[in-house]
Assembly symmetry: C2
Homo-oligomer: 393 residues x 2
């Protein structure tokens, strides 16, 4: 990889600053009603005026983080503020919880059980607090982080999907979102609660979701990490697992190269790359089954953009930590396949959803789930990691 | 079509009695814990022991209806009773509502907002009441029908998905399930409530979901039939629409060839065939957009078994009602494509989920959504319709 570093830096940096960011800034800013419209057709046309609140928090985080770590461009700060204003005016319910979607004008549409909206708003406001110097934003970020923790850890506050109590279970999503949110709260605000929860989240992932004897990272287990031999319990999500792996590898790097965390993260990459990479068509499957039985979800063999973003990051950080050429090779494979199949040179940014063989399934550039987050986060963090690796030479 | 009638009868009848039914009877009957296990791999192996309650109601209906209208085979009645016993013992909550899934042993797993479980139990118990002569089953069927009506029509009893009240909407599923359930309650029990609700359901479909100016049958509209120009409101479900169409055509035939209902049903077939048939690969898309914008759901261009079952029925009943060769041709197209792509001659029954081009996506023969219902219902009703058409010659 070393010889490719300058070229890769250019791909990520220019992809971020010349393609991804301009696409969203050109098409999604709502100057009339505030906030952003993320439901965009291939060419950036707005196809649904509804506003997803997850993506508002995420875009605020991205813009503020660019301002904080790339360059203090006034445009980025202004857009972040534009998002924060809409968030504050329209996206909070009277109980302090947040809505999941609102109309263009900001009227509430849907509110959901999980606290993911609050987590993304927390990271957005934390990064924005540093960028703007606003103490209110810092307070809001800390409050939302605490709300998220309280809801995640108080039994009964979030009714489970399988709700009759017979087979309690938990998903890796919760420790992952805790880990990701806490890392941002620590980086932006030095929140004293962050370190404790980073450790707790990693402990939970390691103890309950990581199964060395099965060489698998589970998506859903019993409350004590039990394997649930049913569709839900056997279904693995390589994208999620690779994302958790790079969170852990990033934390390992932050701690100066913590060996145990590095081994944990690279093991997760090893197992889930092998389970997820499609030998026949390339790319990474959306779901796999622990025992290679059929998966119930229809889109199990589709190729989603965010899964590939996480895989690119995970293989790069695994290479950075170990120098093992296996990760360099895997990174090249997924980087090349993803850019060849997802990128849209004609209209910009990436498609989100491909069939197994790489053909386009859905031409949307944005919807409730795809917005300016996974792709630019990958581009930014890969760029920065590679710059650091270049310096090490 | 007339020259093909004997051949088609054989395909449907033998498919039902020599393939579909034996597949399920051989693999899904749980003699140890009662009821049925419908989560089957391609070859019939049980891959998840959890029990879906929708499918219990549906299978009880199928077995009882075969007993009532094909032949009074003791095996069918015994299996229906086997299902009814499990349903009664394990599938009702203390409030009279039913669970959505239970464990193998019958412990409750999940209960949902909608009253579809109750509707399928109602039709199962109604048909079983006639087959067995059991008055208790008839009472239960009538009670569940009334429970379903009460929940569907009392505001607030079923919290909507888009739950903040800003954009109320309704789905065609409710009048459809009412229509389908009422027709069975009338046929099996001569329930005096049935005729009134058959009319109301058809009125609601005609008034609020059928849009002649757009040549579309809507899946989701506002409470007064308003078009909602968002992803959810624009997304059309050809399979659902074709199913609603044949319900209406069957009702038209029941009324001695009601012209207005026939025209309504055939219009629905015309529009939704045109929107749904895949000119390039054959088969019927799962979702389309009213304005041909991108659909948000990932599986929009996949080919599902049940959609094709409903299309086969709809085109056949449209041909029966009109003699129009267009429907004969469409029926041939979808009948041939579906049998070529979904049928599994090696292990029996049909696959459920194909990619757009007809290649297999999921090898499961059964899961929470696919069981002994859509395919055998199609086979049975097509067989019976064609027998009737043969007599008319």
């Amino acid at each position: 990889m070393r010889s490719r570093i300058p070229e890769l830096i250019a791909v990520y940096r220019d992809g971020l600053l010349e393609d991804t960011l301009p696409f969203w800034i050109q098409h999604c800013v709502d100057r009339e009603h505030g906030g952003f419209q993320f439901c965009l057709d291939r060419d950036g046309t707005v196809v649904d005026t509804d506003k997803g609140v997850w993506t508002h928090g995420r875009f605020i985080w991205l813009l503020s983080t660019l301002y904080n770590t790339v360059e203090p461009r006034a445009e980025w700060l202004e857009l972040a503020r534009h998002g924060v204003e809409f968030l504050r005016r329209h996206c909070f319910d009277t109980d302090g919880r947040m809505f999941f979607t609102v109309t263009r004008e900001g009227a509430p549409l849907r509110k959901r059980r999980y606290v993911f909206t609050e987590a993304f708003a927390a990271i957005g406001l934390a990064a924005y607090a540093r960028a703007s110097g606003e103490e209110q934003a810092a307070d809001e970020a800390r409050s939302l982080f605490r709300l998220m923790l309280r809801y995640s850890t108080t039994p009964g506050l979030i009714p489970p999907k399988v709700d009759q109590g017979t087979r309690p279970s938990k998903g890796i999503g919760f420790p992952m979102i805790t880990l990701g949110t806490a890392r941002v709260l620590r980086a932006e605000l030095q929140d004293p609660l962050a370190d404790e929860w980073i450790d707790k989240a990693i402990d939970e992932i390691r103890r309950d979701f990581v199964k060395p004897d099965l060489e698998a990272v589970m998506e859903t287990v019993g409350p004590g990490g039990e394997l649930l031999d049913h569709f839900d319990g056997r279904t693995l999500n390589p994208g999620h697992a690779l994302e958790a792996a790079w969170f852990i590898l990033a934390e390992a790097w932050h701690r100066g190269g913590d060996k145990e965390l590095t081994d944990l993260g690279t093991s997760m990459v090893d197992w889930m790359w092998r389970r997820g990479w499609d030998e026949q068509h390339g790319g990474i499957f959306y779901f796999r089954d622990l025992r290679d039985l059929p998966v119930q979800e229809y889109w199990h063999d589709m190729k989603f953009w965010w899964v590939h973003n996480e895989a690119i990051l995970a293989t790069l950080l695994a290479y950075r930590a170990t120098g093992d050429v296996k990760y360099s090779e895997w990174h090249r494979m997924v980087h090349d396949w993803a850019h060849q199949h997802f990128a849209d040179p004609e209209h910009g940014e990436w498609f989100g959803y491909l069939h197994r063989d790489g053909r386009l399934s859905v031409p949307l550039k944005g919807n409730l789930w795809k917005g300016p987050f996974h792709l630019p986060r990958m581009q930014l963090l890969c760029w920065q990691a590679l710059e650091g690796m270049r310096e090490l030479e």
